[in-house]
């Protein structure tokens, strides 16, 4: 006698996003270690007395019980395992977490195995929450995600002639996902020069253990250049704009402008007192 499919499933998951469904329900997109990305219905979560709502916020690691529905599974129980409150207390960390979630969402398809992406996302969020540098967390996450999904960028040898590429004379193409040597770059359209320091840092992030990579000191300017290169690569791989990337930059600009304004005010006050 054939065994019947179980009517409920219990799984760990990370909430990627949600959208509204009717007056009080939501469709929640979860990333799970064994079932990949799944859309599930969370009923009544927009009501203030909902027992599920707080556990189903994006960037929450939770254990969830799903009842199998005709079209979509329905959340019957949810228990938060890690809410990472430190992420929600700082705009730079929060915007970075939004970016990590959006990348995981864009680079996975529903019901396809995504165990490695799940592990990288969990690690990335946990590192952000414990206060690791936003740049090293984000860049190493991007590179790990690209590797896990089969888009590992080639940063060491020319993707045209396979010769080793000197960092100071490198060019690159985000669409083709790799670097070119000086000879091959001249013969290719759509190839742009790549900053030598940026390439050295990316090579270190790709090849060194995380703890080693975290020791690399980045100036604000170098961090911005690194971010620009990696955002272009992720855009090319995802084949669409990554909205959170622009928000990460907007949040940083607001911080830099605020600090400059505060410094100006302090200077003016000192002048006045002097």
């Amino acid at each position: 006698m054939p065994s019947r499919l179980p009517r409920i499933t219990k799984t760990e998951a990370i909430v990627l996003r949600y959208r509204r469904l009717g007056d009080a329900d939501r469709i929640v997109t979860l990333l799970t270690p064994h079932r990949g990305k799944v859309d599930v219905v969370a009923k009544g979560v927009l009501r203030s007395r909902s027992k599920l709502a707080g556990h189903l916020e994006p960037a929450t690691h939770l254990e969830v019980v799903l009842a199998h529905g005709r079209n979509m599974d329905v959340v019957t129980q949810a228990q938060g395992l890690e809410g990472w409150p430190a992420i929600r207390a700082d705009l730079d960390r929060l915007s970075a977490a939004m970016y990590l979630l959006e990348l995981a969402d864009r680079l996975t398809v529903e019901h396809a195995e995504a165990g490695a992406v799940y592990r990288h996302l969990h690690t990335g969020l946990a590192r952000l929450a414990r206060g690791d540098g936003q740049q090293v967390v984000t860049r190493t996450y991007e590179l790990a995600l690209l590797e896990a999904t089969g888009f590992r960028p080639e940063l060491a040898v020319c993707i045209a002639c396979s010769e080793a590429v000197e960092a100071s004379h490198a060019s690159w193409s985000p669409l083709e996902g790799g670097v070119y040597c000086a000879d091959c770059a001249g013969r290719r359209p759509g190839v742009s020069p790549l900053d030598g320091t940026v390439l050295r840092v990316l090579r270190a992030y790709q090849s060194q253990p995380y703890e080693e990579a975290g020791r690399i000191r980045l100036t604000d300017d170098l961090a911005a250049r690194l971010e620009h290169v990696m955002h272009a690569l992720m855009h090319a791989v995802a084949e669409r704009e990554i909205g959170s990337a622009a928000f990460v930059s907007a949040a940083r600009r607001a911080r830099v402008n605020g600090e400059a304004r505060a410094a100006e005010a302090a200077e003016a006050e000192a002048d006045f007192e002097g």
Partner: protein, 222 residues
């Protein structure tokens, strides 16, 4: 000619096409069903019920409904100061000189103004953002009424000393409030956030860690 409900039974046997022609060439009743169906939260059955209710109602009621729909689209504008929906600009709240003009409560949507005003506990001014930062949906800070807020703080509402950010306590609401704080604090303004914790009638056993942690952090003496 006015529809007479006695001419046919709306619950069955009507001659309208089902599920096929919903375009401009469809019959008037099908277009009405289609129009109701486009409203949020209205499914196909509810749309049919509403359409047949309008059909059965006196012609005056239908005229009132049509008139109200047209009027709301033609006469409602955004208040030049607070960006709330209003029939005159500046709106009644912004024009009310008895309100506290040193504090502005920033909300996501016009309905949030109604909810906060109904409590009677806030007598300051409002500002409606018309959304929250939602990068994955392509909504960035530049798509909200943030520039309008900065402008009014610079020219009209220069006495403001505190901004209460009343966005929803979810990831996007938090991101929006922290982004606003980053813009407003360097201007010398006090930026506060609505208290977060357990809702009335909640059960501790089912509260999530973030909510319970904040309820503990912002506890009050009894």
């Amino acid at each position: 000619m006015v529809f007479d409900p006695r001419d046919s039974d709306p619950r069955g046997g009507d001659s309208e096409p089902r599920g096929g022609d919903w375009g401009a060439g469809a019959s008037p009743i099908q277009r009405l069903v289609d129009a109701f169906h486009r409203l949020p939260g209205i499914g196909p059955k509810s749309a049919q019920r509403l359409a047949y209710h309008v059909l059965r109602a006196p012609i005056e009621e239908a005229r009132d409904l049509a008139g109200a729909l047209i009027e709301v689209k033609q006469s409602i504008v955004l208040c030049e100061r607070c960006q709330n929906v209003t029939d005159r600009s500046p709106c009644r709240v912004c024009a009310d000189t008895s309100r506290d003009r040193t504090v502005i409560c920033v909300v996501e949507e016009p309905l949030d103004v109604v909810a906060i005003d109904r409590t009677g506990g806030f007598r300051g001014l409002f500002h409606v953002l018309h959304g929250v930062v939602s990068p994955s949906d392509g909504i960035g800070p530049e798509d909200l009424k943030i520039a309008e807020l900065l402008r009014r703080l610079g020219d009209v509402d220069t006495d403001v000393s505190e901004i209460i950010v009343a966005t929803n306590p979810n990831l996007e609401g938090e991101a929006t409030s922290m982004y606003l704080a980053r813009l407003l604090r360097p201007m010398g303004l006090r930026v506060t956030r609505l208290a977060r914790g357990l809702p009335a009638g909640a059960d501790l056993e089912y509260a999530d860690d973030v909510t319970l942690g904040r309820a503990m952090e912002f506890r009050q003496e009894v």
